[in-house]
Amino acid sequence: MEHAGKNFPEPTIETEAYWDGCRNRELLIQQCNQCGKSQFYPRMMCTNCMSRNVHWVKATGKGKVKTYTIIHRAISKAYAKEAPYVVAIIELYEGPSLMSNIVGCHPRDVNVGQEVEVTFQDWSEEITIPMFTPIERD
């Protein structure tokens, strides 16, 4: 019940493969069989060439922080216990960008350009949320 009250995603016929992937700890994005472009979020066609011939691929799960914010005023009670929490936009190595939380470090240690990798947080039996954490360099 740790995550009760949060904004749980409701998978659709178009996105269930993505959320299934998250449950299996795989970050899935789409790639076009026609032109090779990668994209996120999932769509029925390629945003570059409009081909409907797109397929799922497992992303490296690595990328860079394009921008971030530290939220001090949480949106609701369910999120208040996380505050201050980091919301970021991450550019995956494959090209597409997505929103996520940066976890596993102090908010003050997040930077633009920082390298991060995916980690998964189970919210329920059905829903697992991909989040990102700084890549340790030593």
Partner: protein, 388 residues
């Protein structure tokens, strides 16, 4: 294709009381503004054959413009509601001008209001606030509306070295102008220190980097250039209008620091046959301070990345190179949600009529007004002038 340049003019403009107005509902604020704009123009309801509005949160209708027409007992030939957030108001003006130019109707009442302070229960406000962004790919991460603009502010800081103090200067200027405007909701002068020492909402945005939450309504009446001459007030002509739409969700934006204001501005300037140097003052959408910096850059008033230094130099203050948000903007005048930038439009009309009193821009001949909706998603630029 025929241009809309100079085809239409605003002949009436007015606001309701704004700020905290608990004695009026959202619909009443909308109608109050409409009646005042009709008085201002000296027009009767029989002369209005178009009604354009946007829905309110506090008192929603499925067909809002129809509901307002019914309330006023006007039976228009053209009746439409549009909802693109803060970009709505000027998109609506674009629609209305197009309807007049193509002969769908002659004279359009554009009126809108909301009651976000007094007309919405705490539960409803909290529920709305708790679910912003894409329901599957953003909302689970708990972003607030300010945080989505904080992402833009941080990107601008990282790319161009913009500082918190430069963002704060936007808010300080807005308050300086509101101080001169008896109608503004917040009039007490503030300093850069006040802004950067106010409560952190979503780093790097502080409380005073965020716009107000208000009640209020505003209306204008638009008619053809020919008909505009029949009314008593100095017509304010629509010289240029352009829109630009690049994304809906900020995580899908191709650029975080350059917006579709580039597209809307270019289209409006081209139609007007004018450029940034021809603009005497501008009313720019200021839901949060970083928005203004990006608009100043994207609309060509300064180089990309120099918005912060431009504001800090005093260029956007009354008496400066390009006074902006002369009424106090969404940061200090009022912000009742979707109708918010209507007040920028009525302010531009007041300035161009030389009726702005202590906050009058000297020799105000040409104004640029810019609205933005979503998270830097939907942009409309208007260029208005006293002469065609």
């Amino acid at each position: 294709m025929e241009s809309l340049r100079g085809k239409t003019a605003i002949i009436g403009a007015a606001d309701s009381d704004v700020g905290v107005v608990p004695h009026m509902s959202a619909t009443q604020l909308c109608v109050d503004a409409a009646l005042k704009a009709m008085d201002d123009a000296g027009i009767t309801k029989d002369e209005i054959d178009g009604i354009v509005s946007c829905d309110s949160w506090a008192e929603p209708f499925l067909y809002h413009a129809e509901a307002i027409s019914e309330y006023l007992q006007i039976e228009p030939k053209y009746c439409i509601s549009v909802g693109t957030g803060g970009g709505t108001t000027f998109s609506l003006l674009h629609h209305a001008a197009s309807a007049i130019a193509t002969g769908i109707c002659d004279t359009v009442l554009i009126t809108m209001a909301d009651s976000l302070r007094s007309g919405i229960s705490k539960e409803k406000a909290m529920k709305t606030q708790a679910s912003t962004g894409h329901p599957q790919f953003e909302s689970p991460y708990g972003p607030s509306v300010p945080s989505l603009y904080a992402l833009i502010a941080r990107a601008h800081m990282a790319e161009f070295g913009t500082t918190a103090e430069q963002l704060a200067a936007v808010s300080v200027t807005a308050r300086k102008h509101a101080h001169l405007n008896p109608a503004a909701q917040m009039r007490e002068l503030i300093t850069v220190e006040d802004v950067v020492n106010s409560r952190m909402i979503a780093d790097p945005l502080h409380l005073y980097d965020c716009s107000l939450i208000s009640d209020g309504g505003s209306a204008v009446i638009l008619t053809s250039r020919e008909k505009a001459k029949n009314y008593s007030k100095q017509p304010v002509y629509l010289l240029g209008v352009g829109e630009g739409h690049r994304h809906e969700h900020i995580s899908q934006a191709q650029s975080l620091t350059t917006s579709a204001a580039v597209d809307s501005g270019k289209r409006a300037y081209e139609m007007a046959g004018l450029g940034p140097n021809d603009i005497d003052f501008a009313e720019l959408y200021d839901c949060f301070t970083p928005t203004v910096l990006i608009e100043l850059e994207d609309l060509g008033f300064c180089e990309k990345g120099e918005g912060g230094a431009f504001v800090e130099s005093g260029a956007v203050d009354l008496g400066g190179l390009l006074p902006i948000n002369t009424h106090g903007g969404l940061l200090s005048h009022c912000h009742p949600g979707n109708p918010g930038s209507m007040f920028a439009l009525t302010e531009a009309v007041v300035q161009l009529r030389n009726e702005a009193g202590r906050r009058q821009v000297n020799d105000a001949e040409v104004a640029l007004v810019h609205g933005q909706g979503g998270i830097m998603s939907s942009h409309t630029t208007l260029i208005l002038g006293k002469e065609v």
